[in-house]
Each structure stands twice: as C-alpha cells, then as structure tokens.
C-alpha cells in the first residue's frame, strides 16, 4: 500500500471526494450567480446579491474544511455526545429566540444573515449514532433495546425540528433508517416503509374523491378502498384454508386479520390527516404532485414553472446565463430549493446527467469509503453522510421534476445558503479526515 502522504499531520486524503466537492461548490456558485443574476449588480462579490454572499460562505466553508482536516479523528468520537448536545441545545434555543421565516422558527438571525441549527444537528446525530453502534458492535441492531436507543438518538433532534415546524428538514432524518438497515435493522422495515408510501398514495388518491356506497350514501372515497380491502381479506380467509396446512392456519388468520385492521386504520388515518390536520398548502402540494384537482388556480405555479424550466433545457441546454425561464425569474427564489431547474435549463440533459452522475458518484464513493473503514464508528458515520446526501438528492430533485411533493430542503452544495453549505462541508470533511486515519485507527 502506498502511503505517500503520511509524513504530514493529515493522512492520505481521498482526492476523488475532494474533487467532486470542488466541482459542486464551483458549479453551484455559478448556478446561483445565473439564477439570481441582476443586471444592476453584475459583480460576483456584490454582497447585495445572493452570489456575493455565497462567495463569503464558500470562503468560510473552505476554512472549515481545512480546519476539520487538521482535527484528530479521535476528537469526533470522544466529543460526539458533546457535539450532539450542543446542537440539541441550539434546537431548543431556536424555538425560544429564533426568527420566524415562512411560519417556521428555524433560524437564528444575525444581522442580515441567518443560521439554521437543524442543518448542523445531523452531524451530531451521525456522530452519536456511529458511536452508539460501535459500542454495541457493528451490524448488531437486532434487538429491541438497541433499536429503541437508536431511534431515540435520531428522534430527539427530529422532534425539536417538528416543533419549529420544518417538515422538510424532518424528512431528511429518514436517512438514518437506511444507516440502521445497514447495521442490522430488518429489511422488512424498508419494505413496510415502501409499501406504506404506495398505500398512503393510494389512500390520498381515493380519499380525494367520493364514492356512492350502497346503504350508506356519499362517502369519502377512502371507504371504498377499505371495503375492497376487507372483501379481499374475507376471500383470503375463506379460500386460503384449502392451501394451508391446519397447523399454520391460526397464524395465517391472525396475520390477515391484524394486517387488514392495520392497513384500514393506516389508510383512513392518512386520508384524515391530509384532509383535516395538514395545512391547506401542504395538502395542495401533495395533490399537485399526484395530479389531483386543486381549488386554487395557481397552487401548482411553482411545480409547473419548475417543470417548464427543466423542459426548456433540451439536450444541450440554453447556455449559462441564457436560460430564458431562469433569467426571467419564472421560478420564485430559484437559487434556493429549485436550483436544479436552473442547471437543467442552462446545461440541458447533458448537464443534468453530469450533475446526477456526480451525486451518485459522491454517495456511492462515500459508501465505498465507509466500507473500507476498520473502525465501526467511521463506517457508520460514513453511511450517515452518504444517506443524508441521498435523502436530500432524492427529495430535492424529485420535487423539481414533479416526482415528489414540494418540500423545501436544499440541494447539497448547490442551493444558496450559508448554513447548509457549512453543515454539508463539515459533514463531508469529518468523514474525509476519519478516512485518512483508517490505517492508524484499529478499534
């Protein structure tokens, strides 16, 4: 094995990751410049515009990255709980003295800048989760107790974020479920989760209409779904006995009955929550994604504009600073959550392919790096980083191209914003540092 760089304080660095990070930061800044471009402020360093401010955030992030590379990997394992606690405290604090933006108390306002602690809290969760799993031994998330502890570690900051409330940030915590799966959580959880999403969508779609049910009259369409479910269950109960040996029948009856009751309650709950508990605009966003009719004429404005903007790109794109939809600000605040639409319009399918390829490369490279770690701590943390990037990628791009509802979360390294850029940089560079020590740490 070559150890050409081990004479410095920093061990062998994974340059492909650094390279893709540099690519993202530069490409991201260029896209912000294009999306927020204002002819009256053409200078890249103009602090009146987002690209000027982002320039500053990039400079700070580079300093943080270098700093992180000089911190002993041990530090992160030792101080995992401290870091976790610190961000937890910030999440409590933000509920008290935070600035309310778009109905959520998620920001500390410092002058014209804001810091969003929920972005940083994922670092703490990743470190502590890694430390906990390392303490019980890798791949051992099999008993109830270890699962409950893991869920608690994830749940505390997630709960505080729900109180803000910031549903988008909350959803990204689902990333840790993938990490838990990697470390021994039953695969059924993923399957049940996936089935729940499909069944939930079905419930919302049927619940959006009404059904004329015999002897009962006009009811929410979700009842039709439940009735079909019950009839299917009865059919199974009646006919399945022919195929199942008597000793297994009791168990089969139990599974079918409990399953039917669970599915029906789930189905009704989803429909009820969408209709009565979710805020009107959330309901509209879900309906827009599922192509269901929406009352407000321009409820789908952002989603439509984003799709048009992507579609305008064609194969080769309109060229940097030349996307007609982007330059005329059809997508509101395009430099934040909808930034991918600017990439797609100005760089076309080729640009989109490169960008998505780069994310896939980053995520899989991180998983690869994680798996080559000798310490469980580093491996679990690596998976945390990879899965967080994956969740952001999944939700953000899906939202822009109309495959996910509109959920406001940033695209890592691309979306404008100091908190997300710094948090993602720290998240990534801690892993790079841990990886550089993989020969010396034997745990």
């Amino acid at each position: 094995m070559s150890r050409s760089r081990n004479n410095s304080a920093v061990g062998p660095i994974d340059w492909p990751i650094i390279g893709v990070w540099i690519f993202f930061v530069i490409f991201g800044w260029m896209t912000i410049y294009s999306a927020a471009y204002d002819a009256a402020h053409p200078m890249p360093f103009d602090f009146a515009k987002e690209y000027g401010k982002q320039m500053m955030w990039i400079a700070i992030s580079v300093l943080l990255a270098i700093l992180t590379l000089y911190i002993e990997g041990d530090f992160f394992a030792k101080f995992a709980w401290v870091i976790y606690g610190f961000f937890l405290m910030l999440l409590v604090l933000v509920l008290i003295i935070g600035k309310e933006v778009n109905g959520a108390k998620a920001w500390f306002g410092i002058g014209s800048f804001g810091i969003q602690p929920s972005e940083f809290s994922k670092i703490g969760v990743g470190l502590v989760l890694a430390k906990y799993i390392a303490s019980i031994g890798g791949g051992q998330l099999k008993n109830m107790q270890s699962r409950m502890v893991s869920v608690a570690i994830i749940g505390m900051p997630a709960g505080l974020i729900l109180l803000q409330p910031d549903v988008g940030s909350l959803l990204t915590f689902v990333a840790f479920v993938f990490v838990m799966y990697r470390e021994g959580l039953s695969g059924n959880v993923l399957i049940v989760g996936f089935a729940a999403i499909l069944f939930g969508v079905l419930s919302i779609v049927t619940g959006a209409g009404t059904a004329d049910i015999p002897f009962w009259g006009e009811q929410s369409g979700v009842w039709m779904l439940i009735i079909v479910l019950v009839i299917l269950a009865l059919l199974v109960l009646v006919y399945a006995r022919n195929f199942i040996p008597p000793r297994n029948r009791r168990k089969m009856y139990l599974i079918v009955i409990i399953g039917t009751i669970a599915a029906s309650s789930f189905s009704y709950s989803v429909s009820y929550i969408v209709d009565n508990i979710l805020e009107k605009h959330h309901k509209e966003r879900i309906y827009v994604m599922l192509s269901l009719p929406v009352e407000r004429k321009d409820a789908d404005y952002n989603a439509e504009m984003a799709k048009i903007t992507v579609g305008m790109g064609g194969v080769m794109g309109k060229g940097w600073l030349d996307g007609p939809m982007t330059q005329n600000n059809y997508v509101p605040e395009q430099w934040t959550d909808f930034i991918f639409s600017a990439v797609a319009e100005e760089w076309g399918f080729v640009g989109s392919l490169i960008l998505i390829g780069a994310y896939v490369f980053l995520i899989i490279r991180l998983m690869f790096i994680a798996d080559r770690q000798r310490s469980v701590f580093s491996r679990v943390y690596g998976y945390c980083v990879a899965c967080i990037f994956f969740m952001h990628f999944l939700i953000n791009i899906g939202m822009v191209i109309g495959l996910a509802p509109i959920i406001g979360i940033p695209l890592p390294f691309f979306s404008y914003g100091g908190s997300s850029l710094m948090a993602f940089t720290l998240l990534l560079f801690i892993m790079v540092r841990l990886d550089s020590e993989r020969w010396s740490v034997l745990k």
């Binding site: 048009i308 939809m325 392919l353 791009i397």
Partner: protein, 601 residues
C-alpha cells in the same frame, strides 16, 4: 450484513435512473414543456403598421394617427413599491390601484401575463409618468395609435375605425383580437389600402432585462406601412357646407362633373368625428345613436327621398330621346288633371321646365308610356312604355347604387312594370294609375347623390363618372380604375341644349331660383318642392356652374322648410361662390341662411 451495502447501492442507482429517465422525458422527449416555456418567454409582438393618412384634394390632412399609451402591469415582475407616489403620478386612487392589481392576478388573468392598468393615455398624460416608470418594476407602457381628425369635419364621409368585433373576425380571419378596422366611410371602403400590413417580431428578454430578437430576427415579418389616400374632398367646402346646414336637417352633395370626384358630402346634423375616439367613444356613440335627429344617418347617400320637380330634367331628356316629344312640343297647362302654380298656359319644353309645369310633364309621361306600341291593349301598351322609360331613367343612375366607393349607398326606387303588377295586379294598371311619377312624386325614390349625379350628366351633356371620394390611392397614385370609366347615358348631346337653357332661366329673372343668382357666375339649376304631408315640404335644388365648362354640380336637400327656391337654392349658390371664388360676397344671403333653424319642424 455485508450484502446490505449492495441493496443500498441498488436503491441509489434505481432512483438515479428513474430521475434521469424523467428528466430525459421532460427535456428531450416531450415538446409540451418547451412549447409552454417558449410561449411564456418568447413574445410574438405584433408590429402595427401606421395607418395611412387621408388628405383632402389640396393635401390638407383630414385623418391621421396619434400615438397613445396603455400602461401595463406584469404581476410576476412587480416588487413592493411606493403606492402613494405611484398614485400621485398616475392620478389613480389607492383603492383603484389595489383593485386593478387584484384583477390582474385573478382568473382568467395570471401572474405571468400582462394586464392593462390605464388604457389610451394621450402623450401629454403619459409624459409625466414615462420618466418615473423605471422606479416601479413590472410596470411598462405600450404604444398604440388612434385616429384623429384635425379638421373636425366630414365625420360620416371619412368614417371611423374601431376594434374588430367577433362577427367581423369570423368574416375576415386575417384580423385578430385587438386589431383595428375601418367601420364606415373612407376608412371602411379603403381599409385594405389604409391599414398596411401587420408585422410580427419575436422577442425574448435576456438576463439584462432587454428585449432581444429571436434568431437574429430571421423569423420576423416586417410591417408594411399603410398607403396614404388623397380624398377628392375640398375640406374648406365641406366645412362651409356643414356650417350652412347648421340647425337644419338635410344634405349637400357637390361633385366635379368632369371627373365624378365628390367635393363635399354634407349630412346634417353632423358631429365632430373626434367624439368617437379613445376612451369616450362608447358613451358618445351611444348618445349619437339615440339622438332623434339621427346624426349617424348619412342623408346624402342613404336617405331615399321623392325627387319632386327636379326629376323633370330627367323626364325631359328621356322623352326627347325616346322621341315622345320634341323641344317644340306644347302641352296645355290643364290644371284639372294635376295641380300647378304660376301663370302660364301653353308652354313649350323649355318654358315648361322653367315654370315647372306639372300638367305639361303629365302629358310628356303620357306620351312616353302610352306610345301606341300595342294598340289593341292599353294595359300592355303601358307596360311596354313604362319598361322603355325605366331603362332610360336607370341609365341616369337612378335605381342603382352608382358604384361609388361610399359604403351603404341606397339605390332608391324606379318603379318597374313588375312593381305595379305586384301592387295592382297584372294588366290592371295604366298611365292614369301611375301618372304621379311623371313629376317625381308617387313611388319614385332617389338619393341626394343620385340627384347631384343628374346635374353632372347635364353639365357633361350625356355622361357621368361614378361619384367617388378618393382621388388618388397613394400620394402619387390614381383613383380606382372603375372611376376612370365613362358612363354614357344614351341621350343625344343636342337634347341637352334646351334643358341647360331652361335651367339657366330658372336662376334668371322670374325663375323659381332667382334668389340664388350670382353676379359673375352663370348657374344652371332646377328647384323642387317635395310634398311631405302633413309636415312642411322639403326644399330641393340641383344645379351646376358655371354654364360653360362646368366645375361643380350640386344637390341640396333641406327637410321640412318649404319652397325649393327659398332655402336649397341660396345654399347651393353660396357653396358655388365658396368653391369657385373662395370668398363670399353675398354676406346678407349667408347670414340669412345661417340664422335659420328648421330642426324642430
């Protein structure tokens, strides 16, 4: 647990592939999103050509275009702004502004399509706003053109333009919503020449907010400016005619006999054409269309009157040509058959015209109709006679629309044998049933422009050009080819001598129109007094002048005011003075006319 890393990798790859397929669908496969984006970002800007100017025969501007401005708003570009100062410069109230902005984003208006804030501001209204507009993002002005009439005269003759209606768009699919089209007068009949050709410019806004050409303008269609049109109208004469006709119902038609060019076409009461412009158009149009005096009705071309005694000119020429009489034929003034006036008993043709002897022309018509062409059946004889008469009368342009370039010209009525068959039954009528048409009463209906055309025919001794209002299409152009075509009326030239000589005497000493005499110009004319029971008679006069080498022919029709020689003739005389001498010497006559008010009779 090692295998699980591959599960995760498969999940990531699957999502990436699904997303790439979706993006490929949006960007490469589907044309739908590109079309919608193009529709949003590229504007097809219609380049309106400037509409042609209408000049009078001396190249005075009659109708021209004026730029007006629509203040527009594009809601998606609007940033928070100082409403108070916006309201100050636009003189809107805050309440009005709020309503307008609300409407601009309420269905069917949408945030990314422009709506009008203020329509049709005059340049002087727009000027103070123009300099301030840059402070209000999302607001901009759009220039349009309106027609203006600097001379404030000839409203019905010149006509007006307005936005195309739905039914017009169905008829002329080349017009689009918001386009202007000539609705009446010269604006309508010369619409194709005046409007020019619309151009199309494709633009998009670049990142500097500047509108730029799409594909370097290679897709653009250049606008072609409208053709200017030189009208045959003498606007000074037109205005003078409108002045003379003030407070009177009726009309004046003046034509240059040698060319058929209409010099003036007055229909009274009239109105300032500028009333039908811009924002006030709707209210003013409604008021005019409800006016009991019908100012929107063009009496010169659309009113169908009984011609009265002036028709005796046409009768004389017809009878001479058909050989029913000679100029020496004398017929007794037998007032038992039909009423008459003045003292005369056994006139020849010339004196019968001068005296306007009704029994004489009853006799003339009898000779025409009862020509003995079918001696066995006097009904059939009358049928043949009337047919021959009608053919000749229609050669004078009566009963036809004269093929003018004025929209909506009425034909009048020259009763045919079939007409009387329908009215009385076949072979149930003869001359004694229909004799009132012999003196231009009864069923005869003519329009004032046809009367004036008759004067032209006499002035030209036997031919006319279709009366028209446009002398040249294009500043150096020609009239439409059909107006260069001579229409011969088929009457021998020598027959005109007696008629002209009689018409001269009408305006001479003892003539019915002696009050219209001019010192230096010989006028040949014929008065008419059209019965109009129970109201007062219409006063009619047709004439041309000067006798040698006539330069102007006129028909004047004044409703419900009395004898032809008293009102219509002096008005015609003043018009001739104005046109030929460019100055009025008979000031007393002019004052007398101007003072009269017949509107309530």
């Amino acid at each position: 647990m090692e295998g699980r890393r591959y599960t995760l990798i498969v999940i990531v790859m699957t999502i990436a592939v699904i997303y790439l397929l979706r993006i490929f669908g949006l960007q490469v496969v589907s044309q739908y999103w590109k079309d919608r984006g193009t529709a949003l970002t590229e504007k097809e800007v219609v380049v309106y050509p400037s509409r042609g100017v209408i000049y009078d025969r001396n190249l005075k501007v009659l109708v021209t275009s004026q730029t007006v401005y629509d203040l527009m708003v594009l809601p998606k570009d609007v940033l928070p702004f100082d409403t108070t100062s916006f309201c100050n410069i636009t003189s809107l109230t805050v309440e009005e502004l709020r309503n307008i902005l609300k409407k601009a984003v309420t269905y069917p208006n949408v945030r990314y399509k422009p709506s009008a804030v203020i329509k049709q501001m005059k340049p002087e209204e727009y000027a103070p706003i123009a300099g301030e507009l840059y402070r209000f993002k999302g607001f901009y002005a759009q220039a349009r053109t309106l027609r203006v009439y600097p001379e404030k005269a000839g409203a019905l003759l010149l006509g007006d333009v307005g936005e195309v209606t739905k039914s017009l768009m169905e008829k002329f699919p080349e017009y689009k919503k918001g386009d202007y089209i000539g609705l009446s007068g010269i604006e309508k009949s010369y619409e194709n020449e005046l409007r020019g050709q619309r151009g199309i410019k494709y633009v998009f806004r670049d990142n500097l907010g500047v509108e730029r050409q799409v594909a370097n303008g290679s897709l653009d269609v250049k606008a072609i400016e409208g053709t200017h049109v030189v009208s045959s109208i003498d606007i000074d004469l037109q205005k003078y005619g409108e002045k003379l006709m003030q407070n009177k119902r009726g009309c004046i038609v003046a034509i240059e006999p040698k060319t058929g060019e209409i010099l003036a076409l007055v229909s009274s009461p009239t109105f300032d054409p500028n009333l039908l412009l811009g924002r006030a158009r709707g209210t003013n149009f409604l008021a005019l269309s409800r006016d009991k005096q019908k100012p929107l009705f063009n009496r010169a071309t659309q009113a169908q009157y009984r011609p009265g005694s002036i028709f005796k000119i046409a009768q004389s020429l017809t009878a001479l040509q058909l050989g029913a009489i000679t100029k020496d034929t004398r017929i007794p003034c037998n007032r038992a058959l039909i009423g008459c006036h003045g003292s005369h008993s056994m006139d020849d043709l010339e004196m019968a015209i001068v005296h306007s002897c009704n029994p004489y022309f009853r006799g003339v018509m009898q000779r025409v109709v009862e020509g003995g062409r079918n001696p066995k059946n006097r009904f059939k004889d009358a049928q043949i006679g009337l047919g021959l008469w009608r053919t000749q009368i229609m050669k004078f342009g009566f009963g036809t629309n004269l093929s003018t370039d004025i929209p909506g010209v009425k034909k009048g009525l020259v009763p045919s044998p079939e007409y009387y068959d329908r009215a009385y039954g076949k072979e149930s009528w003869n001359f004694s049933t229909i004799y009132s048409i012999s003196i231009g009463e009864g069923e005869m209906l003519v329009t004032p422009i046809q009367m004036c055309n008759l004067a032209c025919i006499v002035a030209n001794r036997g031919y006319y050009y279709s009366p028209h209002t446009v002398k040249k299409v294009g500043l150096n152009g020609a009239p439409r080819p059909e107006f260069a075509q001579k229409n011969d009326v088929g009457v021998n030239q020598e027959y005109f001598d007696v008629v002209i000589s009689a018409m001269e005497k009408v305006v001479g000493p003892g003539g019915t129109a002696n009050g219209a005499k001019l010192q230096d110009i010989v006028i040949c004319g014929k008065t008419g007094t059209v019965q109009n029971e129970p109201r007062k008679d219409h006063s009619v006069f047709v004439c041309f002048a000067p006798k040698e080498n006539p330069k102007i022919a006129l028909a004047v029709y004044v409703e419900n005011c009395g004898f032809g020689g008293t009102w219509a003739a002096p008005i015609a005389s003043l018009m001739i003075e104005q046109y030929l001498n460019d100055a009025i010497k008979n000031v007393e006559r002019e004052t007398h006319i101007l003072e009269q008010n017949f509107l309530n009779q």
